[in-house]
Assembly symmetry: C2
Homo-oligomer: 259 residues x 2
């Protein structure tokens, strides 16, 4: 079965990026749901489609219902979608497919491994999409659909997806926090964050080749105690960042010796 | 005075990148020093210049001597370079200019804010170079020289450079470690690190616009306790990464509430 008619449940960062991607690739977004009617309306107006804040008013005949809401709301929403014949998927890295109740005949997962914001519409072509489905026929449909927007589509089980999401927290969320700390340190000293941007881009580009550990530089991996002591001293009035510095430096050294 | 003849003291990642950059931009690299003669020879052969493992055999008439060695060796080397008339600079973020003894007439700092490896020859055009000199005339010479290879050259004092280096440790070294942990988690679960590469690049690109904190996503900033508990549980057999996860998640939450 070819997936054509889509309902998007949610109006946040991912829902917005998905909606625009589907419009761009000429899919038929039939309806946007949000528990806040105005949020549904804002996105639906941009997509030129219907909207609702009532789950029982969703179109019954869509091919695909994409639940793109916060993890803690998936179960409740899924519980209200029984009886639909289309495939119902969620988009969460850390939620197993077993979140769906038996009342849902065709269910699965459509997890794009990316960080999304409403401000920036990403191209899905290079974004890995991890799919899973309860029935092999639906898996084929979902795979074909995902491949129509991305060239990197993978069958990934709930267990592995959870590992992938955890790895993404380290690689993306914790990294964004590193940038935040760096910016705060610079700002306190009237230095522009722009100074760090070439380094940040290069650090990300480096790991495209080889193993990340091969690109480890800095005082910790050199075990340069003098520099580390100086830097800990600078951080003495920011105890939370001092603790972070000491822990990460310790882990960089111990990981180096583990190899 | 126009800086033409250059001596490079060191043969590591930065020394190698500098040597190739100078050759490319038609500067005259006169000699490479390394305490390990063979390392000096390998780099000098590629630069078609002289080499030595004896500091007292360095050419006396160069315009610029660049000390690109590990921080802990700078002081000892600088102590042996008295009497030269050229400008002697080190390249360290965390070492103040005061490391140079009085016997050195013209001294300064030439600090490229970047992570270097021998495997990858970087273009210096976009790399910020932070300079400092003990005499204003020499500062002008050094500024002109740095501007001949980079379009981002700044006068930065020793105190501010130390802050910049500390910020770079967070933004680059700790980030590379995040990538290392992510790769280890994936490898243990037979998942390819390639899956994370688009996310890593996008995470770096995101901070080119706005403040890094605006790009913070993930379970911690959403204060999604259920996902965080699941992820901590997955890490229960890797106590060091569990500690890192818990600390960083806690800091992401407290930083969010600080704003």
């Amino acid at each position: 079965m070819l997936i054509k008619d889509i309902v998007i449940i949610g109006s946040g960062n991912l829902a917005t990026n998905l909606a625009f991607e589907f419009i761009k690739s000429k899919k038929n977004v039939k309806c946007i749901y949000s528990r806040t009617e105005n949020n549904a309306k804002i996105l639906a107006d941009q997509c030129n489609c219907a909207y609702t804040d009532k789950l029982d008013e969703l179109p019954k005949s869509a091919d695909l219902y994409i639940i793109a809401v916060k993890d803690s709301a998936i179960e409740e929403i899924a519980g209200k979608l029984g009886g639909l014949s289309g495939i119902i998927v969620h988009t969460s890295g850390s939620t197993p497919m077993s979140v769906f109740p038996d009342s849902i005949k065709n269910c699965g997962v459509f997890y794009p491994l990316m960080t999304f914001s409403k401000a920036d519409q990403l191209l899905f072509r290079d974004i890995p999409i991890c799919i899973e489905a309860n029935l092999s026929g639906k898996n084929i449909d979902l795979m074909r659909f995902a491949k129509s927007i991305s060239k990197n589509v993978y069958n990934i089980s709930s267990d592995k997806r959870m590992m992938l999401h955890l790895a993404a927290v380290f690689a993306c969320n914790f990294t964004t926090f590193n940038y935040t700390v760096a910016e705060e340190l610079l700002q306190k000293n009237d230095l522009s964050f722009n100074l760090l941007k070439p380094l940040i881009l290069q650090t990300a580009k480096n790991i495209m080749i080889g193993k990340p550990a091969e690109h480890q530089t800095g005082p910790a991996v050199r075990e340069d105690e003098i520099v580390m002591r100086k830097q800990v001293k600078i951080l003495s009035d920011m105890p939370e960042y001092k603790e972070m510095y000491q822990l990460l430096s310790k882990l960089i050294i111990s990981t180096k010796h583990k190899k």
